[in-house]
Amino acid sequence: MNTLIYTSVLGFTTMLMEVLNLRKFIVPLAVIGLAVIFGLNLQDWNQPSTHFNDMLGVSNFSVAFSGLALFITMIILVMAGEYYTNDENHISDYVTILIFITAGAMMMMSFNNLVMMFLGIETLSIALYALAGSKRFDTRSNEAGFKYFLMGSFASAILLFGIALVYGSVHSFHLSLISSFISENSTLPPMFITGVILIGFAMLFKVSAAPFHFWAPDVYEGAPALITAFMSTLVKIAGFAALYRLVTIGFNNGTPQTDQMLYVVAILTLLTGNLSALAQDNFKRLMAYSGISHAGYMLLIVLSAKSHVSSTLFYYSAAYAVAGLAAFSVALPVFKSTGSELLSAFNGLGKKNPVMAAGLTMAMIGMAGIPPFAGFFGKFYLFTKAFESGLFYIVLLAVINSMIGVYYYFKVIMAMYGKQPDETQIENPLSYQLVMWVCTALSLIWGIVPSLLTDLLL
């Protein structure tokens, strides 16, 4: 809980620094501040506690995921300093909003009460609508922000309606009481089931699972690339942490109704994500559909909630995050130098800048789930756990889908090495290089020594 307060205070501080005319120091201060909070966050390790009348619960789960969220935000902020060089007037806005998104994400990772969950989701979403539309003079960015806002608020309304229906049956917002309500009643009232399913719809919208995914490619494409990186990593992970918490603590590891719904949605998500990704020629849209397919894999983890899979979810999220961040740390300077966000922007990168090409190659191999990178062990871990929970056929489907995935990830690699380069030179500032190296190294280290992460949440 302290972590949440510190993060919010940091958010206000960066906002005030603009007033005090300390614009230059905003990004370094925010990064250092997040690093300090990351350290303070670790103090709560193995010290579970509840706060605000059991609205928030600090546990190892929330500490681990909050740590991951802080790390991702730190990485994004390191890149933000470079990304917003031409837009220094608004840097405090961007940084502050990013930090508040992190605060929202943390609420989604530690709530014990549906109201808190809703607050977290809204804090995160509203800030994100603003960021998605933050390139004011770019029509696509405006479109992205507006589209995201319209559909997102619709989903929030559904979520709220679902929460109200659940409250009507349980007479409480507390997850523990909802859980005992489920175990006490052999037949659940229709109002409760409807509420649960509506909540499920809204959550699936937030994590961009099919058939609630239509916003994702458009928003990813239109939003500024840095924000796309943020959405495809932290926002997705926060959504899954919330969904997982909801299902494990609130719904007794999944009621038959939620299981059925998630099963169908997982199949649809896997297929939609992977098959649509095959046809993309825009890197951001490709990442959007790849993100949808990863949501499909992560839904398998939620489905196997009975076999204690919090460490699987954490490992998979961390592996996915570092691979995604490494990919964007190469993509951002390429987009900037070539002025294009198509896959063809990467043509001949292997000749122009072998180091960047190698970094992106490793990120793509990691995303495709090929050893020795963390993405591979994440998939193996996931398949094992899902198999253990008896999800035989859907694991087979997931295996087939990871083969399809290889093709579109390798499209990027083939563009870099197989196509002729054009004239443009790629400028690669130091901060992007740093991010690329750190994320690639982490992906490799976690892939070779998975127990660093897997043993955390046993």
């Binding site: 460490s311 090929i370 020795p372 083969m403 290889v406």
Partner: protein, 477 residues
């Protein structure tokens, strides 16, 4: 502990070469592959063939799911390690008079490949084995893709996805085995001792077999192979055909047979029949080929088809023969592709009809090429003979008629190989060849070494057979 050294010398070398420049890269590569060869030779001398595993190394790795790192060799895997580390210096040396773009990356990838191949053959835990299996795919993909000919884009992605499909099915099979094994382990010893019920073995067999059959490749899983061999750079083709496909045949014996013995016996007839069809089919296509590299590629399918048939005959002779033939085929096919590359570099063409009369220009090359060709048509006193003889014997014990068709490989092999040799080397002088410059020193050295090995292991096959005998006896028990 020796297994760790075998693994980490190439890995270290690969990282080191990445920072070398130009010619230093290939010199370093040669030095390290030679060191690796020496270590392998030392391992061979102290290895006692008693059927058990030697040089073992175990280390807990991940607590949940339980995965242990476990390396070790028995006679079968040691033979494969020897083949790998014997061929690598030759493959590196064969590139010494060639211009390679960005040689430091090329040779670093090659040494990384050696690391992964050694890992495949040394692993005694299925998970570790799987990691190395996949790891071996990455360097060869980039070698074929970055240094290949103009068709490489489509060809290499087909190769990559094809083999990955097999690997992932195998992974799925391993996950199943992991969960059904009593102590939740993927260790080779556990997997081979505990037997899952034969109802599961029926389909588990195909999950594992798919990966191996694609890698080998067994008909009808072979369609990626000729194009890939054709379009990869020669040194890449040598790696692919000389060593990488042995990963598949080796795994049939080391992993598939002991883990799903019931499934193995259930599908034995189907696989042998497929292999024999593959032999005849590939031989006939080889006769029709007009391009040297494609001809060698199809002859390779025929040879490995016989190896697979021998393994699936499940007789002592068949298994022995398959191992001897794996060793021999590795050497021969590297020799064949190297000769093709020498011809290409001097005449600029690989079309058989455009070639002719090279013998008059260069006697030495002609004689060395002849030895390699004779080795691959399995003439007695060459290394191909003992393997093919035992293989046919094994298949004969299983079924007479199948062995008759499998035996066609020798006749048809002689037809396409000798006819090719006649057209290319003797025959009338072709107008495409004005001169055939003499062999470079490294080319001479490589060809003489290969020729020497062909004759040496042909005359004295006993060490190879003695090395693998106890491990095979264990399997047959």
């Amino acid at each position: 502990m020796l297994s760790l050294e075998l693994l980490f010398i190439p890995l270290f070398a690969s990282l080191l070469i990445l920072f070398a420049k130009g010619k230093a890269a290939r010199a370093l590569a040669l030095v390290f592959t030679l060191i690796q060869l020496l270590v392998t030779g030392y391992a061979y001398t102290i290895f006692k063939a008693n059927g058990g595993a030697a040089f073992e190394f175990t280390q807990a790795w991940v607590k949940s799911p339980v995965i242990n790192i476990h390396f070790g060799v028995d006679g079968i895997s040691l033979l494969m390690v020897m083949l790998t580390n014997l061929l690598l210096p030759l493959i590196v040396l064969s590139g010494f008079n060639r211009e390679t773009k960005r040689p430091h990356i090329f040779y670093a990838l090659m040494l990384f490949m050696q690391f992964a191949l050694n890992g495949v053959f040394l692993s005694m835990d299925a998970f570790v084995y799987y990691i190395f299996w996949e790891l071996a795919l990455i360097p060869i993909y980039f070698i074929a893709f970055n240094w290949g000919d103009e068709n490489r884009g489509k060809v290499t992605i087909k190769f990559f996805i094809y083999t990955l499909v097999g690997s992932l099915l195998m992974l799925f099979g391993f996950v199943f085995l992991y969960l059904s094994s009593p102590q939740h382990s993927l260790d080779w010893n556990t997997l081979t001792q505990f037997k899952t019920c034969s109802c599961n073995q029926t389909w588990l067999f195909w999950l594992l077999f798919a990966a191996f059959a694609i890698k080998i490749p067994i008909f009808p899983f072979h369609t990626w192979q000729p194009d890939t061999y054709k379009s990869a750079p020669t040194q890449g083709t040598m790696l692919l055909s000389g060593i990488m496909l042995k990963m598949g045949t080796y795994s049939l014996i080391k992993w598939l047979l002991p883990i799903v013995p019931d499934g193995f016996k259930e599908w034995q007839a189907v696989v042998i029949t497929l292999s024999v069809i593959g032999i005849v089919y590939a031989s006939i296509i080889a006769i029709m080929q007009t391009d040297l590299k494609r001809l060698f590629a199809y002859s390779s399918i025929a040879h490995v088809g016989l190896i697979a048939a021998g393994v699936f005959s499940f007789t002592q002779q068949g298994l022995q023969g398959s191992l001897a033939q794996m060793f021999a085929h590795g050497i021969n096919v590297v020799g064949l592709f190297f000769c093709a590359d020498i011809i290409l570099s001097r005449t600029g063409t690989l079309q058989i009809s455009n070639l002719g009369g090279i013998r008059n220009q260069n006697r030495l090359f002609s004689s060395l090429f002849l030895i390699v060709v004779l080795g691959s048509v399995a003439l007695p006193l060459t290394n191909g003979f003992i393997g093919e003889f035992l293989l046919l014997y094994g298949v004969f014990e299983y079924n007479t008629w199948l062995s008759v068709f499998a035996g066609l490989t020798i006749i048809l092999g002689a037809v396409y190989m000798l006819r090719m040799f006649q057209n290319v080397m003797s025959g009338p002088d072709s107008e495409h060849i004005s001169s055939f410059p003499p062999l470079h020193w490294n080319e001479k050295l490589v060809l003489i070494l290969i020729g020497g090995l062909i004759i040496l292991t042909g005359v004295f096959p006993a060490p190879i057979l003695e090395l693998t005998q106890p491990a095979i006896d264990n399997l047959l028990k």
